[in-house]
Amino acid sequence: DKEFSVQTKSFNVHFDGNGSLKAIQIRATGQVVDVRQDFGYYRSFVGNNYGTNRASGAYVFRPSEQEAVLFARSNIIAHIVDTPVLTEVHQKVGDWMSQTVRIDPLSDAIEYDYQCGPIPPDEGKEVVIRWSTNMTTGGVFYTDSNGRQMMQRRRDYRPTYNLTVTEPVSGNYYPVTSRIAIRDDRNDLQMTVLNDRAQGGTGYREGQIEVMVHRRCLVDDGMGVVEALNEGGVDGKGLEIRGKLWLQLSSIAGAAEQHRDMAQRLYMEPVVTFRRCSSLDEYA
């Protein structure tokens, strides 16, 4: 019921009384960046794939409305676990959406361990996690090009032709194979989100990063796969997924060093093996 904060190497991370992320304060400069996290989904467009009546499916992301349906923040149930080695905030967002926020006092990356599914099969849903900040971004964001350079993306814009936007959301969605970022040049800030698998994402709304984490579409999009994107999972009731995202905040000049180093470390994560030993003392 109370607001609280957790310290990392360079930040104070503030949560509100519901256990939702509220702001990040950079201790060195005193800058406070409002950071709100939301969970939501777009309803998939259902069509018969004739003419402009294309359905959302495996190849095509086409929401039926341009605004996501958001889970109410006030319904989040949070449980906080605090130890010197790690602080965790367990959040139950809805019946089929939850996450654990992990804050390591010796790291500046906030880890999100999310779980999603099974998505109710009443309609097609495309689930997103969104961070909203007070950063001034002008609809410009950056996505990686499969681990090479960061590509600048501009709202409703293509560098090689004049674009007429007919799908404001999906027209601004791009592949996010390892990271997506937004920048605030005036305040010298960059917020980067790294992921553990190829996803889709956007940052075309002012100060926002959005990543699509799960989809369930009940209709084939007619692009060749001839199957609806409707995986049943272990029990046929729908796929449950668990994944991780990492959020970093830094100066623009320091951002590349931080996210490239972290991406390398995530890629080369330590390998754990076990042995049963007759004498552990001797083994040690």
Partner: protein, 198 residues
């Protein structure tokens, strides 16, 4: 080379766009998962041989047969592990493939929290029992798992090397601290400034 080539080749196959984006048919997706699993499993024997060679270089080891079989777990991503749940005492070897020393926080699913953890020098390591969140417990993929908690502790790994931590079950009273439910974080340790060379 024979053992590793399968993973090398299947990794290459799965850079095809349908595996990256998920636009393959369901039976193809299932086959991709199977092939990846089998080819990863083949590599385990290579890791076993490599770690055994490195371990036997330690002069203090009197009896090499005491090493036991190297065990792998591919269910740690759903907070389940047949080895940590079924054995009360284990040697946990963590290999760091990165070219710099790494501080890594290890999470091991356990059925009891009464473990003493010691580092490669035999010194005790502080560990914590974290409850596994209810939605994770309900995952169908971990139906056979009995773990409701994860043992969490910090490991320090050398560059391109490994460290072995020993887990020993302690009878009697609890020896581990548990993550406490709290709403106030003023008791966190002071932050130590770190200088970095770029």
């Amino acid at each position: 080379d024979k053992e590793v080539t399968a993973l090398r080749e299947w990794q290459a196959v799965m850079q095809h766009h349908d595996a990256i984006t998920g636009t393959e048919k369901q039976h193809v997706a299932n086959n991709y998962a199977l092939k990846l699993y089998k080819s990863i499993e083949k590599c385990q024997s290579v890791v076993e041989v490599a770690v055994r060679k490195l371990t036997l270089k330690q002069p203090a080891l009197k009896d090499p047969t005491n090493l036991g079989e190297l065990l792998f777990c591919q269910q740690l991503n759903v907070s389940a592990c047949i080895h940590t749940e079924a054995n009360h005492s284990l040697a946990v070897t963590v290999y760091n493939p990165y070219g710099q020393p790494v501080r890594h926080i290890l999470r091991l699913p356990v059925t009891h929290r009464n473990y003493a953890v010691s580092d490669p020098q035999g010194m005790p390591v502080q560990s914590y029992a974290f409850l596994i969140p209810a939605p994770v417990l309900a995952l169908k993929e971990r139906a056979l798992s009995r773990a409701v908690e994860e043992l969490v502790f910090e490991t320090k790994l050398p560059a391109l090397g490994f460290a072995t931590y020993i887990l020993k079950y302690q009878n009697g009273s609890e020896t581990n601290s548990t993550g406490s439910v709290a709403t106030n974080f003023t008791s966190l340790p002071p932050v130590v400034p770190v200088s970095r060379k770029v």
